[in-house]
């Protein structure tokens, strides 16, 4: 008997959602059966997260009905959904940095014994859950200061310990490397075997073939196609998602010039997260940085762009030592960072898209320090259009889908006409269509003679866009590979020494 | 001119003394068929200036002014006079801009009598502490002056410590009293410049477990403090004629409006009150 013959545990009928005057879901039908993984795919802003939030009680639908094990189901709060057995990992949800890992895993459903909190039980179970995902940290450590990837693993551990009958994973691997992803998949297989239904959302289409039993594709708030199996060719999925065929993902990489634009000499961080880094980036070159999670890539590029302090070493731009001491130092020299965490570092979520783009571009928008709203919104609108952001300038950045938020961050920084662009995980959570347009943008930057540094945990991505790749392992520079010599095997070899 | 509407600007209704004056003014004016509009500056001069502007907007016929803040602001008086309205200052008078008449208790003399009385009870000698009111305010300065005179007249009395309260409140009297008694367990005299402070100080004496008799003097003759005084809760106070001040203020306003001239200062004595004669003031507050 295959899963398809079982009655669904969850059924959605004609679910609609309206925000303000905008309908973002136009009557969605969806069934999930016990023990199957339904992949929910679609471009940024298609409505995947909104649909998931409706199922998990975080958002109320405007119209439509749901049933759960045959009974009507309308969770008014996340608690109601959890009590019914529906769990969800929210896209880029923040953890509570001031609390321990164990408390984060069990937040809202603390284990108690005799009325008092059972810390030990929570710690043991959190630790066990984390170990299954390959993360060996003390559950008593505070979350503050953990890398994004580790935080994501904790988020996953939180969901895995829920004992849910239906689990929704909204882009769980966006911040993960290949190895962690495989560990996650092993856990998903285990849950499937236990009869848990799973809705899996991702923009990494290679994963889908491996994990999905069925595929549902959404576009602009409507369900456009459904595949009864998981091993559908990527090309077919992409066509369904974007409504046209996408001939290639990676544009050809331009040939860099010979003169060196940026040089990093013996750079070390005060906390030791990286040490003795030496490399050069040429004008028009795309320089990739690869490595396992926690290898120190983020810290390195933050230091180069003045966001973090530097203990020793120099940053040299066009032959002049400019070792930045603050982001404004770096920016003045034309070095910009598109940070890894767009919600915490890239955008003011409660402010409009226009204002967010403005924040890095006051000198371009203002005349002698004066700014008018008109000039600002014209400036922003140009970039909103250029980057294909789905949203209006006066809309709050927080209302955008994750992918569109990333486009705003890119727009904000590239509007400055920088000389060196550092992109930390530039396509995290970005759909295939948009991703290829970001790759186009990167190549365009290189062609203009800008030095581009791309940090990515997505191996295919670093391989696809870089002229050269530096591999980092445990804060050390493990080696630099030319494009011809770089492939999965050679990079991973260096990354794991 | 006949007075139909009086504006009363009170410094701070949270202080019993001023509240009593207000009650005195309102009750007496009612007898006379005069309307009173009362505003409370909560001890802030700026608020009071605004309130006086508002009173003048309402076409008052006379103005009773109890200045707020540590010292009297001149502006309210000036504003009223510009509007041609007679001003009766109560409790404090502004430097440079006195009211048409000024009514107050003779703070220095009354404080002198209270201190002389308790020093007498202690046999003309002993260590003394003083709990002041809000530092720098007119009554604080005057009462200190009066009591110091009594201390100077008795060479056996030594002022060993003094501390200032900020709100003349009982809670402060208690805490300050406790702390000073801690530092000087051998005192036999306390002068607290308000009854609230005195009640707090008496409480502090009660609980500090000192063996000697400590004589506590207060000031004001608050309606709530007098019954306690009558029962020997503390030893002496100066009962201010709050109702009397209120009546006198209204009468003065009527007379000024009618064109009479009044003396620049009308000082009312405070009555030295002890457990023996307190009952009289409880029955009918002057």
């Amino acid at each position: 008997m295959t899963a398809n013959d079982l009655p669904p545990i969850l059924s959605l009928r004609q679910i609609r959602k309206v925000y303000g005057s905008l309908e973002v879901l136009h009557g969605i039908d969806l069934d999930v059966r016990a023990g199957e993984v339904v992949a929910l795919l679609g471009e940024n802003g298609a409505g995947k997260s909104t649909l998931s939030k409706i199922i998990s009680g975080a958002v109320q639908p405007t119209a439509g009905s749901m049933s759960w094990f045959g009974a009507p189901y309308a969770p008014a709060t996340p608690r109601a959904a959890m009590d019914a057995g529906v769990g969800m990992i929210h896209q880029e949800l923040k953890l509570l940095p001031q609390l321990s890992i164990a408390e984060n895993v069990f937040v809202g459903r603390y284990l108690t014994r005799g009325g008092r909190i059972d810390r030990q039980a929570m710690e043991e179970r959190a630790h066990a859950g984390l170990q299954r995902l390959g993360l060996d940290v003390s559950p008593r450590r505070l979350v503050e200061g953990l890398s994004t990837a580790k935080q994501q693993l904790i988020e996953i551990a939180k969901a895995l310990t829920l004992n849910a009958r239906l689990l929704i994973l909204d882009e769980p691997t966006a911040a993960l490397g290949g190895e962690e992803t495989q560990l996650l998949f092993r856990q998903i297989e285990r849950l499937k075997a236990d009869g848990v239904g799973i809705i899996y959302i991702s923009h990494r289409l290679e994963e889908i073939r491996q994990i999905a039993d069925r595929i549902v594709v959404m576009r602009d708030g409507a369900k456009v196609q459904e595949f009864g199996r998981g091993d559908v060719p990527v090309r077919t999925i992409v066509e369904a998602m974007v409504g046209r065929s996408l001939d290639r993902m990676f544009p050809p990489v331009p040939v860099p010039s010979d003169d060196i634009m940026l040089e990093v000499r013996g750079l070390s961080s005060p906390s030791g997260t990286f040490s003795n880094i030496d490399f050069t980036v040429k004008r028009g070159e795309v320089f990739g940085i690869a490595g396992l999670v926690g290898a120190g890539r983020t810290e390195l590029v933050r230091a180069i762009t003045g966001a973090d302090p530097i203990a020793t070493g120099d940053v040299v731009l066009d032959g002049a030592v400019i070792t930045p001491r603050s982001p404004s130092d770096a920016i003045r020299n034309g070095i910009v960072l598109v940070p890894e965490d767009r919600k915490l570092q890239g955008l003011v979520l409660e402010h409009s898209i226009t204002e967010n783009i403005g924040y890095a571009n006051f000198d371009a928008v203002s005349k002698a320090g004066w700014i008018t709203s008109k000039r600002l919104s014209q400036f922003a609108n140009d970039y909103i259009k250029k980057f294909g952001v789905k949203g209006r300038g006066e809309q709050n950045a927080g209302e955008l889908s994750g992918g569109n938020q990333q486009k705003v961050v890119l727009a904000k920084w590239l509007a400055r006409n920088p000389r060196v662009v550092v992109l930390d995980e530039p396509t995290r959570g970005i759909d295939v269509g948009a991703r290829s347009s970001i790759y186009d943008t990167i190549m365009e930057l290189a062609r203009q003679g800008i030095a581009v540094i791309v940090v990515s945990s997505d191996l295919e991505e670093v391989l696809g866009v870089s002229n050269r790749i530096m591999v980092m392992a445990q804060g050390k520079q493990a080696g630099i590979l030319d494009r011809e010599d770089a492939n999965d095997v050679s990079v991973m070899e260096l990354a794991t020494i | 001119e006949e007075v139909k509407k009086i504006g009363l600007a009170v410094s701070n209704l949270q202080a019993d003394y001023f509240n009593q004056i207000k009650i005195g003014v309102e009750a007496y004016a009612k007898e006379k068929g005069i309307e009173v509009i009362t505003v409370d500056a909560k001890n802030d001069s700026a608020t009071q200036v605004s309130q006086v502007q508002d009173l003048l907007t309402q076409d008052i016929d006379a103005f009773i002014y109890i200045p707020a803040g540590a010292a009297a602001a001149a502006v309210p008086t000036r504003l009223a006079k510009e509007a041609g309205i007679p001003v009766v200052n109560v409790d404090r008078n502004a430097e440079g801009a006195p009211g048409d008449t000024f009514i107050a208790t003779d703070n220095a003399t009354s404080a002198y009598e209270v201190c002389k009385h308790i020093i007498g009870l202690a046999g003309g000698q002993g260590k003394m502490i003083m709990i002041h009111g809000q530092k720098g305010t007119t009554p604080e300065v005057e009462r200190t002056k009066g009591c110091m005179k009594a201390i100077e007249e008795n060479s056996g009395v030594e002022l060993v410590a003094q501390q200032w309260s900020e709100q003349w409140s009982q809670a402060e009297g208690l805490n300050i009293g406790q702390n000073l008694l801690q530092a000087h367990p051998d005192v036999s005299l306390i002068f607290a410049q308000a009854d609230g402070l005195a009640l707090g100080a008496a409480q502090a004496v009660k609980v500090s477990g000192v063996s000697q008799r400590v004589y506590v003097g207060g000031f004001d003759g608050d309606t709530t403090a007098l019954p306690i005084l009558a029962e020997g809760g503390f030893d002496a106070t100066a009962t201010q004629q709050v109702r009397g001040i209120g009546r006198l203020a209204v009468d003065s306003a009527i007379k000024l409006a009618a064109g009479e001239t009044l003396p620049a200062e009308q000082l009312l004595p405070g009555f030295l009150t002890t457990p023996e004669n307190a009952a009289k003031f409880v029955a009918e507050h002057p």
Binding site: A58, T77, P78, R79, M82, D83, K94, L95, L96, P97, Q98, L99, S100, E103, V107, G108, R109, Y110, T112, R116, I117, R119, E123, E124, H127, D136, S138, P139, R140, R141, L142 | L13, Q14, D16, N19, I23, K135, A161, Q163, W164, S165, Q167, S169, Q170, A171, L174, N175, I176, N179, L180, Q182, A183, L199, G200, Q203, K206, V207, T224, P227, I228
Partner: protein, 324 residues
């Protein structure tokens, strides 16, 4: 299990450490202050004076526990001083003017105190009024009501056992009021550290949305916390009435700033999610010791204000610098 010994250690006290972590600066400040005072005046280190300090901080201490919870969830309660006065007046009115037995009056007055908290909480959660404004409004309303009860007059004449509770040292040591404060401390500490409700407050303060998505009833806890804060302000009012043996509508003016200061000096973060009762106790003691010591030294009130400001800034700066 692979948890190492050091981890174990760190962990066992994970939140004890977390609680203390933010408070070592203030704790050192408190100790330095005590050392300085015991050299500066021989009266300071006597048992009797230390007991006096405890007496003097009861009101502040009780209110600070409620305020700690409020601030932990990222809120603020400016109404505590006024609610204290309102509770006192309601109690005095019911007992001495209506003629109910005093204990009944106390209970009813505490009910009023809790109700003020409920109103603030509902304004905040149901109507979306910022906590600062909701409690500022309640501060004004409660003060007005407290004054209206007797037209601004105080009420005296409580039974003699009432005031004695604040002064009789049972076992030569504890007054009832201090005992009440200690009980409130212990209950607050247990609640925040060992119950899922207490932990939920940390989650709410850390990030409301995360807490809500984790199934915590944020609104209910928020209202609950303001009710507790109101109730404890009321209890502080009863304790103050015992200490003063009278009730007055002017009591508690500007206590809200003192209380918030004590909580924040103790390391609880005004942005929520961080802190605890232990720190608050230290904060309360710093303020209490400072006031007592300056009085013992006979420092003039004007100079006191300067010294208090400087010490508070230093105590908190020490902590902040240490953390860097």
């Amino acid at each position: 299990m692979s948890i190492s010994a050091t981890d174990q250690e760190r962990g066992a006290g994970a939140s004890a450490m977390a609680a203390l972590r933010g408070t070592t600066g203030p704790l050192i400040g408190l100790i330095l202050l005590c050392i300085f005072l015991s050299f500066a005046t021989d009266k300071f280190m006597s048992a009797r004076n230390l007991l006096n300090i405890l007496d003097q901080v009861t009101v502040l201490g009780i209110m600070a526990v409620g305020m700690t919870m409020v601030i932990l969830i990222g809120g603020i309660d400016l109404a505590v001083g006024s609610v204290l006065a309102l509770t006192m007046m309601v109690m005095g009115y019911l007992a001495n003017q209506v003629g109910l037995p005093l204990p009944v009056g106390i209970l009813l007055a505490l009910g009023v105190a809790a109700a003020t908290g409920a109103v603030s909480g509902i304004l905040i959660t149901a109507l979306g009024v910022p906590a600062f404004i909701a409690t500022l409004a309640m501060m004004s309303v409660a003060r007005g009501l407290a004054n209206m009860i007797t037209d601004g007059q105080q009420i005296v004449g409580f039974p003699s056992w009432f005031s004695l509770l604040a002064y009789t040292r049972y076992g030569g040591f504890l007054t009832l009021t201090v005992a009440v404060m200690l009980v409130v401390f212990v209950l607050g500490w247990l609640y925040l550290r060992y119950t899922s409700g207490g932990r939920s407050l940390y989650a709410i303060g850390g990030n409301q949305e995360v807490a809500r998505l984790a199934g915590i009833n944020v609104n209910l806890y928020t209202i609950g916390v303001y009710v507790v804060s109101g109730l404890l302000a009321g209890l502080a009012g009863v304790v103050l009435a015992m200490r003063l043996d009278s009730v007055q509508p002017t009591a508690g003016v500007s206590y809200e700033l003192d209380t918030i200061a004590a909580v924040v000096i103790g390391g609880t973060s005004l942005s929520g999610g961080k802190g605890g009762i232990l720190g608050t106790i230290i904060g309360v003691l710093i303020i209490g010791v400072l006031r007592n010591g300056l009085n013992l030294l006979g420092v003039s009130p004007f100079t006191q204000a300067v010294v208090i400001g400087v010490v508070i800034a230093l105590a908190v700066a020490a902590e902040a610098i240490k953390r860097k």
